[in-house]
Structure formats: C-alpha cells, structure tokens
Amino acid sequence: MTTTKFPLTADTDEGVPSVLDRIHEWVVTVDHKRLGIMYIVMALGFLVIGGIEATLMRLQLAVPDAHFISPQVFNTLFTMHGTTMVFLMGMPILAGFANYLIPLQIGARDLAFPRLNSFAFWITCFGGLLLYSSYITAPALYGGAAAPDFGWFGYAPLTEPTYSRGNAADYWIIGLIIVGFGSIAGAVNVATTILTMRTEGMTLGRMPLFTWITLVVQCMILIAVSPLTAALILLFLDRSLGAHFFDTQAGGSAVLWRHFFWFFGHPEVYVLMLPGFGFVSEIIPVFSRKVIFGYPAMVAATVGIGFISLSVWAHHMFAVGMSPAANTFFAISTGLVAIPTGIKIFNWLGTMWGGQIRMKTPMLFCIGFLFQFLCAGITGVIQATVPFDWQLTETYFVVAHFHFVLVGGLLFTIFAAIYYWFPKVTGRMLSERVGKWHFWLFLIGFNLTFIPQHFAGMLGMPRRVYTFLPERGLEIWNLVSSIGVAFQLAGGACFVWNLIRSYRRGAVAGNDPWDAWTLEWATSSPPAEFNFAKLPVVHSRRPLWDLKHPEDPDWQYE
C-alpha cells in the first residue's frame, strides 16, 4: 500500500499535471474523501460570509439609534446570516465530515452511491450560489433590499406575495428546496452505507460512536428536512400560482406554516448538534486515554434524542395562543429531551474521570464545548417552563441560547474536529501554539458577545430589531456584545492562518499522531484513494486498541 501525496495527482504520461487537470479531477470526482473536503471548504467559505453579516449587525447594534445600516439592509443581514449558517455552513460541513470519515471508520472503500454523493454536493453548492445571487439579481420594489429580509424562518404571511414583493423570497424558497434535496440525497447515501457496507465483524454494537450518531442524524434528516421542502413547495405555489395555503385573506392559516417549519426546525437543531456530540465522543476518550464511559447508554441516549426531538417543535410557538393542554404537552416533551442530553454530558465526564487528560487543542475546544453546552442546555430547559418563556421567547435571550448551542457548542466541536482530523486528511499537524491562540481568543470573544444578550432579552429587547432606544437599560449589554466580535474575528484569523501555514509547513503527522483507536487511524495520512488495501476484520469497538494491547483487548470486556 503506497502513501500518496496530498492532493492526489493524476497519472499522466506528460508528467506533472496542469492546474486545469487538477481542477478537473476535483470537479468530476466521486471519491468520498475529496467530496468531504469540498463540502468542508465550501462551508468554511460560507462561515466567513455569515460571520461578516453578523459583524455588520453587531456594529449597527453597538450603540442605540445608530444609522450605520438601514433597516432594509439590516433585515436582509439577519435573514441571510441565519439561513447561511444553518443551511450553507452547518449542514454541509457536517455532511463533509460524514462523507470523509464514515467509510474510513466502518472499513469501507467509499459511500454506497458515489455519483449520488457528487450530485448532492454540487446541488448544495448551486443552491447556495442561487440564494446569494439574490443580493444582485432580485430587485424589490421601493428600491429596498434585494436579498430576502423576512427572517430565516420565513413566517407567513410576511412571505406571501402581498408583503414580500419582488423576487427575493423566491430565491430563498428555491435555494432552500435545492439545498434540501442535497441533504436528503446525502442522508440516503450515508445511512445506506452504514447499514450495508460495514466491514466484517463490525456489528451495529461495535461501530464508533460518531458513526452511530451519524446514522441517527441521517434518519432524522429524512424525517425532518422533508417537511420543510414540502412547506416551501406550498409557499412557492402560493407565490407563483396563486394558491392559498398560507393566504390569511382566503382563510389560510399563518400558524400552519409555523407548525410545519418548526416540525422541521427543531429536529434540525439536533441534526446540527448531534454530529458535534459525535466528534466529542471520539476526541474526549483519546485525549483522556480511556474508553468512552457507557457506550450502550450513549447509543440509547442518541436514539432517545432522535425520537423525542420529533415531539417538541411547538416550544417555538408558546406565544401563539395554543391551549393550556398543548402548551403543557410541549413543555413536558421539551423537558424530557434534556434527560438523554444530560446523560451524554455525564458520560463524557465519566470518561475523563480517572484518565490522563492531555490538553491539546482538540481537547481544549471540547472543554470549552462542555461548559458552554451545559449553559445552553440549562437555558433551554429554562425556556421549557412556558410562562417564563412567554417573557423570554422572541427576545435576545433566545438568541443567546441558540448561539450558545450552535457557536459555543457546535462550532467549538467543529474546531475540535478539524484540529483532530486535519493530520489524517493532509498528513500534517496544525500548530499547537497558534491553536491555543485561536482557542482563547475565540472563547473570550464568544462569551463576551453572547452572555450579555441573555440580560438584554430579560430587559425587554426583542430579536430582529435593527436598532434599540436609549435609556431602556440596553446600552451596556449591546456594547459589550459587539466588542466580543473583535476577539472572535481575531481568533478566526488565527485559525485561517493556522490552516494555511500548516497545510504546507506543518509537522508531518504519520498514520496515527494521537495514538487513537478507530479504523481511520489505521490508514496512511492522507489515506490512499481506495482507503484499505485489504478490508479489515474487527472484533470490538476499538480495533486499534486491540492491536496495541493484545494482552488486554476490548472484546474481553464488551
């Protein structure tokens, strides 16, 4: 088995391939590793764009009554920021990791349907470009914003033709339908791979936790993203053919849209967060030098979260005026979903307990995640107490909560994953020194930005406002929140610098720089195109532990 250089070069008679040849290879590839990298690079690009949108918003909100950005432009910023971060950053980057890692972790050579894989990536890319082209190509009336400006959840009837004139909404709808097809295609592919292509000996009970979590997430995508696609089709019928699905003047229901959207929207946030849990479940054991505590409980908790999360959606609608019985039901289901989530946190703690914790950059980001996600989970349960939620919903308290989940939680685990698997993908280590700068700057910046927002919400500041009035007690919280952005930008800059520099000049990694235990570390760094020359046979959840500790293999204890 040969070690190939990264990026893989084509065999040509002329010798070194030209730039065009190399681009062509990447464009036509069906190799899961390359497509995985493409997903991740695309998502990081959208992370930067979404971050710029957020920075502009925080500049406008740093002081009351600012005139830095007009309301029309501001409203497009929060819409595009949310839509971008969820659909063009979160989903694709996690699809990229799944793409890259799953075949390696289960001992397969590629995904089940390689051409479908390529299709899914390219239409995701296309959908994102279509959505962003609205900034240039979607003229609205009154010279206002061209991009969509009705919030990432697009509540009807604001999105109906009467109130969203011009074509901005259509770009949003079609862009999201297309991206949704990409997600569904990817989910079918990855789930089929896990169910039908595991290497010999890898029963479902011997899969790495990241693989298990990915399987549950793909099933959730199938069940949750589809309703959004359907609702978007209904909305598009309203806008293009004069249907009345959400046309309140014709007897249509605005609340029906909310039910459909949140039936998608809530499982969606678990679709986003669960893979992060998967990363953490791989990284914490390796950096604590211990097997994951309670593997069966972790699997059960994941499946439990998957099921329960389908029953909580109306906790986004506590102020809509549902009956006391309905409000109580959703309060209880929301409270219940916290239990398996808490179990996971405790199991990670149990893994670290009695271990030898190595404070390398991947582990630092996992630690930041633990504290921040604990916060996020608690503010989530706080909002499940409905009457308190009647004060907190639609305010900056909610904004703080979900940024703690998605930035303090998910983004931190994504950083951890990149620091952990970059050596496998490129063959080089990221710099620990720069990584620590990245971590601390981002940790400080994130907390400075989002902790004050809890207080702004409790003092009456609703969300999606382009400005706020002076003398409402909101100035200090907004100012500190905006200052935090500078630290996050600095941390992000360190990260980009680390990626670029280490790609060329990082220390050579070798096959297994972290002394880990899952199958991907048994390949070269980067892996050969075919992954494994001979497909491995496994007997436990940690095949490499068995190899490294033949006197004390895992299969004696499982």
Binding site: M1, T196, S226, A243, H244, F245, F260, A522, V537, H539
Partner: protein, 197 residues
Amino acid sequence: MTAIPLPEPIVTPWTLPRRGPVGMLLFIVAEIAIFGVFVTTYLYYIGRSLTGPTPAEVLHFPVAMTVSLLSSSLTIHQATRALRRGATARFLGFWLATILLGAGFLLGTAREWHELIYEHHLTLRTNLFGTTYYALVGLHASHVVAGMLLLLIVATFGLAGRVRPEHVERTDVVSIYWHFVDVVWIVVVSVVYVIGR
C-alpha cells in the same frame, strides 16, 4: 497495516442488506414525510374554504383509476418474481402491463382534471379546496410520472434483451418505489374522496 489477526475463527458468514433496496426504502421515508405535510394540509383545510365549489359537489370516487393503479402493483410484483426465476419473457410481459396500467391511471387523472377545470371552474386559486386538492393529487401524480419514467427506462433495456436475472436488485428498487406510489394513492383516495367529501 490493514488486516487485524484473528484471535478466533468467525463462525457466521458476514452478510449485510443490499444497497439498492435499503437506499430506496430510506428515500421513501423522506417521501412519506413530504406527503405527510400535503395530507395534513388537506385534512386541516377541509370545510374551511370561504367560497365554493365543495368536494361533495364536484368529486366522484375514482374507481377505474384506483383499480388500474392497484393492479399495476400486482403486475410489477409478478414481473420481478419472474425475473428472479429467470423467466425474462414473462418479466417483460408483466412489466409492460404495469406501464399500461400506470398510463391508464394518468389518463384518468387528466380526464378528471379536465372536467374540474372546464366544467366546475375549480383551479388551484379558486378556494382552499382547489388549492389543497390539486397540490395533493398533483404531487401524487407527479410521482406516478416519475415512476413511469423509471419503468420505461427498464422496459427499454428489457426490449433490447439486456435485462437478466442478475439485475433483479435494480428492478426490485423500481418495484419498491412503485408499491410506495400505490400505497400513497390509497391514502390520497381515503383522505380526498372519502373523508373530505
């Protein structure tokens, strides 16, 4: 280093389900969720149109269409059975019968819609009934059309004599999809022509 030495022999052979059918079944899960939204919308809006016409006034239970489509499930099942046993001629016969029955269903839909539009003036924008009816029945019909395309592709290869028993996994995939489309029709008929009227 890719092989791990065996400490003890593995007794049972390692077999996992086939990719094609698993992939199609997962895709159907997503489709169920999509149809679920359309069906829920239909049910929610029953009786809430602000103007006429109403379902009772203009809808007739589609007997011929239903018989046609449900029989096509039988014929496609016979076709894949035949192919599995190597009877390629029988397979082709039943497969083509499936296509004919599917076409009959679509013809029935076209006639029904023609009557609704030109005689009863019911369109997507007339009222909530029109909106939800055309959306749900139309979504199903579009899935029948997609299925017909898959059937025709296989038929083309079949008529060229290129479909052999080793391809049964692929015809199974199309067959699973076609059965799904039929089951959805049963749901649509119950919701639109029974409950909704």
